[in-house]
Symmetry: C2
Subunit: 229 residues, 2 copies
């Protein structure tokens, strides 16, 4: 009998869907590949799992070396197993998605990529591998998660106005939400804490600045979106 690790195993990759929000636009970070397969094509950043590494370890390594960022919100998405998803052979991909505030990082292309760029999620180029599929699933997860779980603040500055949070929700959910009802729900749920500070330098009334309430009890709010049917 062969010893345990001498059987041939599929390779294991981690692929990242990195979301960023800026200028009222939700974007995804894509990387232009320098090598085959999919040379000169846009793909999600990713990398192979090292023998001693955890998934989050691989995520951090990718984020640091390929994109120059660290300490971000990460969540496992799904594992993808289509036998033909990688032309090099059998590669299983574990998808993760990250939420980052682009203002905090200066994205750099590691030496493995021609280029790294933010793309509006509504205007994506063709993607290599099955990355369009992974991306779509990540976007769907983000959309459903933000409706009942406070992830929005990961994409904003530490201090933000209710209006900014409202715009974020409208942008991600691609819908309109009544401004006044939104404010009431967010405040009733104690999603945010009023800092007493105000955002200065705007041409109209200066709105109050809030911070995320870290003591928020989970599932305490529910933003509804009109169902299309």
């Amino acid at each position: 009998m062969k010893s345990f690790h001498e059987y041939k195993n599929p390779s294991l990759a981690v692929d990242l869907v990195v979301f960023g929000y800026h200028d009222n636009t939700l974007s995804v970070l894509l990387l232009n590949r320098k090598e085959e397969p999919f040379k000169d094509c846009w793909t999600l950043p990713g990398g192979f799992l090292q023998m001693e590494e955890t998934f989050l370890g691989t995520c951090s390594r990718i984020l640091q070396t390929k994109l120059g960022m660290d300490q971000v919100f990460l969540e496992q998405l799904y594992s993808f197993d289509a036998p033909d998803r990688d032309p090099r052979g059998r590669v299983i991909a574990v998808g993760y998605y990250a939420l980052i505030n682009p203002a905090k990082f200066n994205v750099v292309a590691g030496n493995m990529a021609n280029d790294v760029k933010w793309f509006n999620v509504r205007k994506l180029p063709a993607l290599g591998f099955d990355h369009k599929h992974i991306f779509k699933q990540a976007l769907q997860r983000l959309r459903s998660k933000i409706q009942y779980y406070p992830v929005g603040f990961e994409l904003l500055d530490e201090l933000f106005t209710i209006t900014e949070l409202h715009e974020l929700y409208e942008c991600i959910l691609e819908t309109t939400i009544d401004r006044r009802n939104f404010r009431r729900k967010i405040l009733d749920a104690a999603y945010v804490i009023n800092t007493g500070l105000k955002r200065e330098g705007l041409k109209n009334r200066h709105p109050e600045l809030y911070r995320f309430n870290k003591q928020l009890k989970k599932n305490s709010f529910q933003i509804n979106v009109p169902t299309e049917s």
Copy 2:
């Protein structure tokens, strides 16, 4: 440079949390191992992913050869990567959960197991590997999913009464739900279709039999559970 598949990769296993419902009890199928590691211990049924296999392919193979069942509801749960989760070495596990109607299958222990048995989810023995952890996550998923998505009927006969469905929900969610409000919600959401038939041979009033409405539009109902806090 080494060719692509000569790098050493972690092994990839698929582990199954098979739920069954019978006699007002939610159970999980466990397997008593015949070999090391965890010889004579209870574990989730599982198996290694073959090079050409999909996850669902592995699931079917396990269900058929180890348990003698096929054609069941399966959903991917999560992938588990703790470096020490398997004493034989680095093994990544992809967790799936299955919902089956025990009345439809006669569970058999394949030749790899001492025994296969249903265990009440509230009275589980110690489990090998990190299988307790996988199980807990599966139970949590089932509980949250059943509140907004029609999965309950996978565990029942094709024809069932509202009372039977109600008991299933109370059993899985470990709570009491008002019988009359439950009925109203299920009917308003068009979760089920009245067949006009009645369940005969009961000692009291003969309830109407329903079947699941396969045209149900998703997210059309929401069973609430009192939040403990």
